[in-house]
């Protein structure tokens, strides 16, 4: 009887080009197939692994689709009330200035119910990293209009499209926080192509490295899709994102520290 060949027999050090970071807990993700959260989680966890700071990192999960982020991230984490993650992170960092502290938040959490906490943590210049996933919709609650839903975009609470006359304008909170003296590094990225993933990874790494400098908030927005909420196929959702979200939320650095330009 032939011996069973295992993954370890095939994957050797010399031919290993990619592996899942051990900080990503091995269980099925709660996200829809095609969603960008999985990649964003991986980039955060790879960064923590590569920096060797697992034992020094405390994360804060939001309310929304990524409320269960702590189920997948093998780091100490707290789950915040809706929008309050920057307040939790403020206290954690003030009480543990030697730790790396990050929040992981969606658009409804960070840019609607948590606007005050977001702006004031950014304005105080808390030495934390904020990872902001913007998919223009409330995904977890079933596709309602978000603060970042585009004009004319349909959702379950804007079924005829967002009418800015009655429903208000989408909020470019990332540009807004970039105006505050307490933010040190503000950037907008995406994770829909390998190239974008590499750039987003670099941005997240910088956002964590910056905590060593104690210069204020590092804020990384990731424009992402919500194929379920947008009622599209995953590929179609990414195309729609490129055509519609990116013109309104253009990718790239918004505020880069002078010494890192």
């Amino acid at each position: 009887m032939a011996e069973k060949i295992t993954t370890n027999d095939i994957v050797k050090e010399e031919n290993l080009v990619f592996r899942k970071t051990p900080l990503f807990i091995d269980k099925p993700l709660s996200y829809c197939p095609g969603c960008g959260h999985g990649v964003a989680h991986r980039l955060v966890l790879e960064t923590i692994e590569e920096m060797g700071i697992q034992s020094e990192t405390i994360g804060v999960a939001p309310v929304g689709c990524s409320v269960l982020a702590y189920e997948f991230m093998d780091i100490d984490m707290q789950q915040a009330a809706h929008g309050r993650a920057p307040a939790l992170a403020t206290a954690i960092k003030r009480l543990h200035p030697e730790k790396f502290v990050f929040t992981y938040q969606g658009d409804g959490d960070l840019a609607a119910i948590g606007t005050a906490e977001t702006i004031h943590a950014c304005n105080r210049g808390e030495n934390i990293t904020i990872i902001f996933i913007n998919n223009g919709i409330y995904g977890m609650t079933g596709g309602q209009m978000a603060p970042t839903t585009l004009p004319g975009m349909k959702s379950s609470t804007s079924p005829y499209g967002r009418d800015i006359k009655t429903m208000g304008n989408p909020l470019k909170i990332t540009e807004l926080v970039a105006q505050l003296p307490g933010t040190y590094y503000v950037t907008r990225q995406a994770v829909h192509t390998p190239g974008a993933v590499r750039k987003a990874k670099k941005a997240i790494r910088m956002a964590f490295e910056n905590q060593k400098l104690n210069k204020g908030v590092s804020f990384v927005e990731i424009v992402s899709n919500c194929n379920s909420g947008w009622k599209m196929e995953p590929v179609q959702a990414n195309e729609w994102m490129v055509e519609n979200m990116f013109p309104f939320f253009p990718l790239g650095d918004i505020k880069v520290p002078a010494e890192q330009k």
């Binding site: 100490d76 984490m77 915040a80 309050r84 939790l88 206290a91 954690i92 009480l95 005050a116 004031h120």
Partner: protein, 358 residues
């Protein structure tokens, strides 16, 4: 000889926090408790003990800062007054649901709404029946002097950490603002990170190879697990009820009638007792020190001895419901109270006793 100082109740809370080795205070100004934050800012406790003091953008942010700090095993607290405490209810229920020890101080003012800045006791229901959503309880301590404001800070943290449960000091504008002599305790050292990890192994202090990652959350989407967790919380509250009831009795030995009052009202009742006894009316006082757990058992015992009970509260009558439940309607229980920031006089309390109970 211990150090004595003349202090406001609010200042006593602040000094006690520093001396108790508190790691962080997160607050927001509101009358009549702003002196807590003012005192802390002027004392610069970061220089005395390394304690963090932060003025938050709102009461909501302040209580969520308490959540974040408490979840790392640190001794953290906030204080506010009634409208601000209402804002904090979201954070408080999350803290209770995540089983985090912390201290919240409410220097009560009259309501509802913006109400008044004068003292009241109308937040009793909010304090002892939950306040936010869900089935949870706070450990509630009711000081009646500036000394107790001071002493209950350390006691509240002891109880909060013993049961992994938020504790609340339910004071009022009179005790917060009045000045009395306070015996100052020695400085307790703040816990080291090593002590915290040993004492609170659940805390999010950074995942080390020797343990699984720690998660602080109040969420469980599995109904059977969520119900099991709720049962666990209820068992904890039963344990608190068994172990932590605190009260004071004044002249109850020969009493034929009984006042039940806490905080400021209990001090007025003490004067009313003197006046009543001068007239030959044998009245005593039971002063609950813990409002949750409530001294129901002792009240039931006293109901076998006295002919009637008058509760005195600066409210429309809230604690009176718990007194009625405690004595199982075996004797008359009436309420006398003033509202809107008015403190009753000893004479009107005595009149109420004579008219409603005698």
């Amino acid at each position: 000889m211990k150090e004595l100082r003349l202090m406001k109740g609010n200042e006593a809370i602040a000094e006690a926090a520093i001396r108790a080795g508190v790691d962080g205070y997160f607050g927001y100004p509101i009358t009549p408790q702003s002196e807590v934050l003012e005192y802390l800012m002027s004392e610069q406790p970061e220089k005395r003990t390394g304690m963090v003091v932060l003025q938050a953008e709102s009461e909501v942010a302040a209580i969520n800062m308490v959540y974040g700090g408490a979840a790392t095993g640190k001794k953290v607290m906030t204080s506010s007054s009634s409208p601000g405490i209402s804002l904090k209810q979201e954070g408080i229920t999350y803290i209770a649901g995540a089983e985090l020890p912390c201290l919240i101080v409410n220097v009560v003012r009259g309501g509802p709404g913006l109400g008044t800045i004068q003292p009241a006791q109308s937040d009793y229901f909010q304090s002892v029946k939950g306040g936010g959503h869900g089935d949870y309880k706070l450990i509630v301590l009711a000081p009646s002097s500036v000394q107790e404001m001071y002493d209950f800070v350390d006691l509240a943290f002891t109880l909060a950490f013993k049961y992994r449960n938020p504790a609340l000091i339910l004071s009022d504008g009179a005790i917060g603002q009045m000045m009395e002599k306070v015996e100052i305790s020695d400085q307790k050292p703040r816990w080291t990170n090593e002590e915290i990890i040993k004492m609170s192994p659940w805390a999010t202090t950074g995942k080390t190879p020797d343990r699984p990652h720690n998660i602080i959350t109040s969420l469980d989407l599995d109904p059977s697990k969520q119900e099991k967790f709720n049962h666990k919380l209820q068992a904890k509250y039963k344990e608190i009820e068994k172990n932590e009831v605190r009260f004071e009795e004044i002249q109850t030995k020969d009493a034929e009638y009984l006042f039940v009052a806490y905080g400021t009202s209990s001090r007025i009742c003490q004067k009313s007792i003197q006046m009543a006894r001068a007239k030959g009316i044998k009245v005593g006082l039971l002063r609950p020190i813990t409002l949750f757990p409530f001294p129901s058992k002792r009240l039931f015992e006293l109901s076998k001895q006295v002919k009637g009970i008058l509760t005195v509260e600066m409210s429309a009558g809230q604690m009176v419901e718990d007194v009625k439940l405690a004595v199982k309607c075996s004797i008359p229980v009436e309420h006398y109270g003033r509202m809107g920031g008015i403190i009753p006089s000893p004479a009107e309390v005595l009149t109420a006793l004579e008219q409603k109970i005698l």
